[in-house]
């Protein structure tokens, strides 16, 4: 069995306050290479909270999240940012593209932040990513000049900019119509099948989840089921 790319060890996240709210409780989870994992559950069950913890966007109150076998609990914020930049790609329900920048510039942003490539290489890779996602004709447009589905594809391209092994997606099709939704799902599927990426996607759409390789079900912050999806009969 290969080493997990992300591992949650007994992770708990409690929101402090007058009445503390437990978002995630004692979660143990391993994300392996080339997996397409669905995190499902009812609204408010802690799906997104778990994803943010796995993506180092939030800190666990207890437990540890390991990225590539490295503990992140005691990492400084800058170090966590760097791990995010090079190891994880994010796709959210809304595209969150920077509105004043062209699509190429948006895709180039993580590469420029990482600073490992020259401007020419960055431009080339950004253009290549956009081309591969069918956005070749829109490279120089701004986000408000393309459709919602296209924006979400640009967000995927941005998530792939630094060639991270894992893409974390939070309701990636949540704000899209059924056609765009299917396109984005197929795109995520192709990341696993063709690019060898690992995709962890939060979704409340059980039909989509059923088309992924593994389903992790959360209720009240706890994992209640973690199973491989049974392929539908032909």
């Amino acid at each position: 069995m290969s080493e997990p790319l992300i591992e949650a060890r007994n992770v708990t996240r409690v929101l402090p306050g007058l009445v503390p709210v437990t978002l995630v409780q004692s979660v143990n989870l391993k994300i392996l290479p080339r997996e397409f994992v669905a995190i499902t559950g009812p609204s408010g069950s802690g799906k997104s909270s778990l994803l943010y913890l796995l993506g180092l966007l939030d800190l666990p109150t207890e437990g540890d999240v390991l990225i590539g076998g490295r503990s992140t609990t005691n990492m400084a914020e800058d170090e966590r940012a760097k791990v995010r930049l090079s190891n994880l790609g994010f796709v959210f329900q809304f595209h969150f593209l920077l509105p004043e920048f062209s699509l190429t510039e948006n895709v180039a942003l993580p590469m420029r932040a990482l600073g490992e490539l020259t401007e020419a290489e960055i431009g080339e890779r950004a253009a290549g990513l956009l081309d591969s996602l069918g956005l070749a004709d829109h490279r120089h447009k701004r986000p408000d000049q393309i459709s919602g589905g296209q924006r979400q594809r640009v967000a995927v391209a941005r998530a792939l900019a630094n060639e991270p092994p894992v893409v974390l997606a939070d309701e990636p099709t949540g704000s899209l119509d059924s056609k765009s939704s299917a396109q984005v799902f197929d795109l995520l599927r192709s990341l696993v099948d063709e690019r060898g990426k690992t995709v962890v996607a939060v979704t409340h759409d059980l039909t989509l989840a059923a088309r992924m390789d593994r389903q992790v079900r959360i209720v009240d912050g706890r994992i209640v089921a973690d199973e491989k999806t049974t392929p539908a009969p032909a």
């Binding site: 939030d58 940012a81 329900q93 942003l109 993580p110």
Partner: protein, 411 residues
């Protein structure tokens, strides 16, 4: 282009109107600061220059630093004598020419003897109290600008008539005395002589032009009733700024009261210091107020951009990088404001320099302005610094944004 600069520039560029307003605020502050500093320092310098030109740099008078000692006090070191009037001393500086020769050996400048007295001029039934100075026309030109200030006649004209007198132009107007007029001159010892007006001068200082007159030393001695009297030695130094130390040394060496032009005008110069403090306070306040505009725009941008900041941080941009973006935006506004403000300040100075104005004390056809790079550097530096400080706080707040809170809020 560097990512940080790229994002900062895009923010500033896409909010052109707000950026322009903030930049204009800074520019106005810088412009007015430069203009104020230029005007204040210019008028101060002009006034000091006029004083330095008109007044002797060091005046040695026949007053002693200490009262005359009684013979008993001179004889016995421990003697203490009460109830005696101090010994009457002959007026004037002892051996004035020898004293001048001794001083000329080390004083860096020129010296001339003179006799000063208070007197009264009478002409055509008008009496005007004046300060009369007996001068040596051959050396006067070396210690004062009187020669160049002559409007009618010349200093050497003092030799051409008996009891010749040169009047300040306003004094001549007051008396309605023209060159050639015979005026009656009364000294403080009730000695009255008749003199002839041989010239007029204009110093630019109203007090002097209205109340000063020059005669030959000999005439001054007649008016004071003492032959050979010299009660004042005036010195003009190569560097007027060392007058204080030169005066102190002269006083120590000669025992006579020696006053530099700075000491003579101490009240005025102190007033300038107070004025400068007020000026810098006002200038600082202007620039501080201007920086509020920068604070406002950066706060607005960070507020509007909180979602972008969250996504940038979620992608992996560090707090430092985010903070730098907004500090650079503030710097860009400050820098643009400082540059435009410097140009604005220059043209405001030029415009102000065209205004004609007259004060009751000093003639000035134009407002005196001082052009120095320091005003520009200080105003631009303070503007830039206050812009960076004004931008830093909203930038720090923006950098501390927790991406999850914003992303959750957005979804």
């Amino acid at each position: 282009m560097n990512l940080v600069f790229n994002i900062a520039w895009t923010h500033v560029r896409t909010r052109a109107r707000q950026t322009l307003i903030a930049g204009f605020g800074v520019a106005t502050g810088v412009g007015f600061s430069i203009m104020m500093a230029s005007l204040m320092e210019g008028s101060q310098d002009d006034f000091v220059k006029t004083l330095v030109n008109v007044l002797p740099h060091v005046t040695i008078s026949d007053e002693r630093n200490r009262p005359t000692l009684q013979p008993g006090e001179v004889r016995y070191a421990v003697a203490e004598i009460h109830g005696l009037t101090p010994e009457v001393r002959r007026r004037g500086i002892k051996n004035p020419m020898a004293s001048i020769a001794a001083l000329e050996a080390w004083v860096p400048g020129k010296l001339t003897p003179s006799v000063t007295s208070k007197g009264l001029l009478r002409y055509a039934g008008r009496d005007v109290a004046v300060s009369i100075t007996g001068i040596d026309p051959r050396t006067e030109g070396k210690v004062s600008n009187l020669e160049t200030q002559m409007r009618q006649g010349s200093l050497s004209a003092l030799y051409r008539a008996t009891n010749a007198i040169i009047l300040g132009d306003r004094l001549a107007d007051k008396l309605a005395a023209k060159v050639g007029a015979n005026v009656s001159i009364s000294g403080s010892r009730n000695i009255r002589i008749n003199g002839t007006v041989v010239g007029t001068f204009h110093s630019g200082v109203r007090q002097v032009d209205e109340g000063a007159a020059y005669v030959l030393i000999k005439t001054g001695q007649v008016l004071e009733g003492q032959t050979g009297l010299v009660n004042e030695i005036r010195a003009r130094l190569n560097d007027p700024m060392i007058a204080r130390s030169v005066a102190a040394r002269i006083a120590a060496e000669t025992g006579y009261k020696s006053v530099s032009w700075e000491e003579a005008q101490e009240d005025l110069l102190s007033a300038f210091q107070v004025r400068n403090i007020i000026m810098f306070t006002v200038v600082g306040a202007i620039l501080l107020v201007a920086s509020f505009g920068t604070y406002n725009i950066i706060s607005t941008i960070t507020h509007e951009k909180s979602r972008d900041i969250a996504i940038m941080k979620s992608l992996g941009l560090t707090e430092r990088t985010v903070r730098r973006i907004f500090v650079i935006e503030a710097m860009a506004i400050g820098l643009a404001g400082a540059l435009v403000g410097s140009v604005l300040g220059y043209f405001m100075c030029v415009g102000l320099g065209l205004i004609e104005i007259k004060t009751p004390f000093v003639d000035a056809t134009r407002l005196p302005l001082k052009y120095t790079i320091n005003h520009y550097l200080i105003a631009a530096g303070v503007a830039l610094f206050s812009s960076v400080v004004a931008g830093y706080f909203p930038a720090r707040k923006a950098a501390r944004v927790h991406p999850v809170e914003i992303i959750r809020g957005a979804t």
